[in-house]
Assembly symmetry: C2
Homo-oligomer: 154 residues x 2
DNA sequence: CTGAGTGCAAAAGATTTGCAGGCAC
DNA sequence: GTGCCTGCAAATCTTTTGCACTCAG
């Protein structure tokens, strides 16, 4: 029932898990299949629902634990919304290795952006405080200028 | 017992509340006194504890509701940490009107920064998507280069 | 085989809500 | 006096945890 979903990263994950001394259980592989099947940003609830939709049964607890593992090992990126909710997106190491997000408040669409100048300014700021940057969050949100979410058509 | 705490914004808040059709209850004024008494970034729990320390009794529910009101009316700024926890800081309209945060993971110290170039880049990005920027979050964190949190002595 | 990982259900936190009573205006 | 606001406790929501069982290596 999952043959429509490209499992692009199956092998990678198995390797990563093993190299970290973790077991490649079918739950973890199934969850990764689901996570890597789309570029959407989803919360735990949605991921769980999508798993069920594909007849993959994992307990909520396991999903939490697995997502934790993936985030810790950089397979997943955790996005913290201003509401305190979290969204997750898989780390396609090949495309846009570092990027930030801008959300349209009208339609909920999330776009990714990246700017090299910002990075270098950030580094200067950290340097000035004698800090090594370890994490960065940069999220913008806005409303559509023409009130029609024309960007969504892009 | 609160005579040591400068109540710099008392009048403002009362005016703001009234202009919004809200009542200037003693709970709201007391909470604002506490919030405006320091530039620290605190979570609900800490604020509640600090209130009790100053013999101000408000229920947890009222504190949540009041903080909501203040955030909504721009008297308070809500900072969302990556852990999903929230911190609050009062909006001193006079100093650093717009700023972001960089956290030292070693000592928890939070510094504020602002860079005009970043703002203009952000605006360009939003423009490109036909969006009016309404909110921005930019938070960095890092570890101390010399492992001694020398910045904390600044 | 053995212990890391899982499922379940209960626990733990954090925040919200319903409602009766209180107080700002 | 009126109804917005508060306090309390219960409810809700999200995430974590303890424990017995399972299965990957």
């Amino acid at each position: 029932m999952k043959n429509l979903i490209p499992c692009r990263f199956h092998i990678d994950v198995e390797a990563v898990l093993k190299s970290e001394g973790l077991r490649a259980t079918k739950q973890r592989l199934n969850i990764w299949d689901e996570l890597s099947s789309t570029d959407k940003h989803r919360d735990i609830e949605t991921i769980l629902k999508d798993l069920k939709k594909n007849k993959i049964n994992v307990s909520r607890a396991t999903l939490y634990r697995t997502i934790d593992v993936f985030v810790k090992h950089n397979l997943l990126k955790k996005i913290t919304l201003d509401s305190g909710k979290f969204l997750y997106e898989h780390n396609k190491k090949t495309i846009t290795p570092q990027h930030d997000h801008i959300v349209c408040e009208d339609c909920g669409e999330i776009f990714e952006f990246y700017d090299n100048n910002i990075s270098s300014i950030e580094n200067k700021i950290a340097d000035g405080l004698n800090l090594n940057l370890t994490k960065r969050v940069h999220q913008l949100s806005g409303t559509c200028k023409d009130n029609q979410c024309s960007h969504a058509k892009n």
